[in-house]
């Protein structure tokens, strides 16, 4: 039988801990769960192939948030992340990450992943953030996935590739019972009963449309279509601060990082068309992105990453990283345009919007044990709400989730779910395959994401959001009533569109709820242009209640690390002042 031909089938398996998503957090979560109880069954479910899936498909150039003794303290890091997030942080989870991440670095080192050391044998940490020093290059960063995969094989984790999870199953008392998934090449459905489930499904990176118009030319790995956000929502879990969008400064058209975290420590900087610096710090924050946006529109744009003033040997060293890991086709792209970093600056632009806690703070709400608000359901990595947690946060919090989830599984039996929920989901999943005629998923997706750009991209205007909501509702109706999938691959895309649509609706709802401006460009509402600490110094939690999308305020937990009044605004001072 040919690949992609639709097979109507349904089977059921069970395991103790189910990890969904085999990118960065997922493999670590699965590994830690299995090491916690080697007798238990741990399944790692992946939409693509664990060998090359997720944000670090081709490796990573370094750690962006390493808290290394002698360079930074957990207190300093917690303070920096709190200030970068305008104070809206539950510090306990950030502090715990900061305390644990060094141990994880040593563990990654034992997996064979190397970190840059100086001539004395100390870690060679670089400064990119506004205040502290946390960036640690990885000289063999292209080997990360291979190193992780070796560990998974050694620990005998059961890996199921090419299964897309679509919905979570719960018992009548609200506990997690498992997940429903679909084989992306045959459309056969698989129900996985589990005592605990960990969601590690990455960012919602296919929400906005890249300005190139190429749907898969996204900043995030384009497989990250926000499925985890959608599943958590439908399971009744709370999602935090979704209005704090992810928007990043990227190589124009290529839409990958340039990357200031790599080149900045060597002396590269972000410049306007006059070759002048205009931001104090290249660390990705909403406040920095606002200045970037302002500069693009001010007549002093385009904005560039400037390297040409550096020594040719230094540029070659930067190139050897940029053209080898994370997004290795950067070199091919620049070559195609005849851009040589030695003589020309790199033209930059801002990315499409998305949800991602890896870089901002929009994620499924989790506490410092990676627990969501649904008992037995965990989340880690880009989709979980611990802010600015990057790759090392995915590893560290994935580890926390794996251990806690196995403890949960060890003390609970399987929860019972209603068979009718599976039947309903099967009907929903297969609906596009039952139609003779209709609209293909790529057209529904293009239109949805074009509407996201037209109406939701900051600055956020209430009137535009209201119109966007109406247009998205029309697109949703097309999606639910008329979308057609003629093979299993098209069905995969059709299911992804449904995640994208859910994320678009959540972006609208969350953004309209918070009636103030905060986090620089990420949540700049023209109708409420000021930060309003009196009414909005709080998290917002979005969830599904009685079938309807609702939002509520949640108080910021008391700080573990106090922030002095004169420190609170440090990230608001991004713009370089004109010298006298």
């Amino acid at each position: 039988m040919a690949l992609d031909e639709i097979v109507d089938g349904l089977s059921e398996v069970s395991c103790d801990v189910l990890v969904i998503g085999g990118g960065t957090a997922g493999p670590m979560a699965a590994l830690k769960a299995k090491l916690k109880n080697p007798k238990a069954n741990v399944v790692l479910l992946e939409k693509a192939n664990v060998k090359r899936s997720g944000a670090i498909s081709m490796g990573m150039d370094g750690l962006n948030n390493a808290v290394i003794p002698g360079y930074a303290t957990p207190e300093q890091y917690t303070k920096e992340i709190t200030i970068a997030n305008d104070g809206i942080v539950d510090q306990k989870a950030v502090y715990k990450y900061a305390q644990n991440c060094y141990k994880i670095i040593e563990e990654l080192d034992s997996f064979g992943i190397r970190f840059l050391k100086n001539e004395n044998g100390d870690y060679a940490v670089k400064k990119v953030h506004h205040i502290g020093t946390y960036v640690l290059p990885m000289p063999n960063g292209e080997t990360v996935k291979k190193a992780l995969y070796r560990q998974l094989r050694r620990a005998r984790i059961l890996i199921s590739n090419r299964y897309m999870a679509t919905r979570l199953l719960k018992s009548s008392d609200g506990r997690i019972a498992g997940a429903i998934s679909v084989n992306t090449r045959t459309a056969e459905m698989l129900v996985i009963k589990a005592k605990a489930v960990i969601l590690c499904m990455g960012a919602a990176g296919r929400l906005g449309l890249p300005t190139s118009g190429y749907m898969f030319g996204t900043y995030e790995n384009a497989a990250n279509s926000g499925d985890g956000y959608s599943m958590a929502y439908h399971a009744g879990a709370a999602l935090a601060n979704l209005e704090c969008y992810q928007i990043n400064p990227l190589i124009k058209d290529y839409n990958g990082p340039a990357c200031a975290y790599v080149a900045g420590p060597f002396g590269a900087f972000t410049a306007n068309n006059q070759g002048s610096r205009f931001i104090e710090c290249d660390y990705w924050s909403g406040q920095m992105m606002l200045e970037f946006y302002n500069e693009l529109l001010s007549g002093k744009g385009p904005v560039f990453l400037q390297l040409k003033h550096l020594h040719p040997d230094t540029i070659s060293e930067i190139e050897s990283t940029l053209h080898k890991v994370e997004r290795p086709t950067r070199g091919l792209f620049q070559q195609g345009r005849g851009v040589d970093y030695r003589s020309e600056s790199i033209e930059m632009h801002i990315s499409e919007i998305g949800f991602c806690s890896g870089h901002s703070a929009s994620g499924v709400f989790v506490d410092d044990n990676a627990r969501t608000t649904v008992p037995g359901l965990y989340a880690a990595g880009d989709m979980a709400s611990v802010p600015h947690n990057y790759m090392l946060g995915a590893f560290t919090n994935g580890s926390v989730a794996g251990i806690d989830a196995m403890e949960f599984a060890d003390s609970h039996d399987f929860a019972e779910f209603d068979a009718a929920d599976v039947a309903l989901e099967r009907d929903r999943v297969m609906a596009p395959t039952k139609r003779e005629d209709g609209i293909p998923p790529n057209q529904v997706e293009y239109k949805t994401r074009r509407l996201v750009n037209d109406y939701l991209q900051p600055p956020k205007v209430t009137r535009k959001y209201e119109l966007g909501m109406r247009r998205l509702a029309e697109a949703r109706e097309d999606m639910q009533e008329r979308m057609i999938a003629r093979n299993a691959h098209e069905l995969l895309r059709a299911l992804e569109v449904q995640s994208i649509m859910d994320c678009a609706d959540m972006a609208v709802h969350a953004s309209l709820y918070r009636e103030e401006s905060r986090w620089g460009l990420y949540h700049w509402r023209t109708d409420f242009p000021e930060k309003d600490n009196e009414n909005w110094f709080c998290h917002t939690l979005l969830s599904k209640r009685d079938g309807k999308m609702t939002s509520e305020k949640r108080a910021v937990e008391p700080y573990v690390v106090p922030i002095a009044d004169d420190e609170k605004d440090l990230y608001d001072k991004q713009r370089i002042r004109a010298s006298a």
Partner: protein, 77 residues
């Protein structure tokens, strides 16, 4: 509404002379994060079946015979 097919130039190119898919190799199809590569039933060689590419490189990097080349998709070149 009736459907029409739409022409597009795809970024991933496979050198049939080097590709050993006809001998059972499926490495590029296996590793692609977007699952856009397939083995042709006519030629038994790998090819890009869907223009949904993140130009990320696993197919090229992991191909055992160097048969796969990833180009930048035309729209953003």
């Amino acid at each position: 509404m009736p459907l029409a097919s739409y022409q597009t130039s795809v970024p991933v190119v496979v050198d049939d002379a080097k590709c050993i898919a006809d001998k059972g190799c499926t490495v590029c199809v296996d590793v692609c994060p977007l699952d856009v590569l397939r083995i042709s039933e006519m030629t038994n060689k790998a090819y890009m079946a869907y223009d949904e590419c993140w130009y990320c490189m696993p197919c090229e990097a992991d191909c055992p015979t160097g048969a796969v080349t990833v180009n930048i998709p035309y729209l953003l070149r």
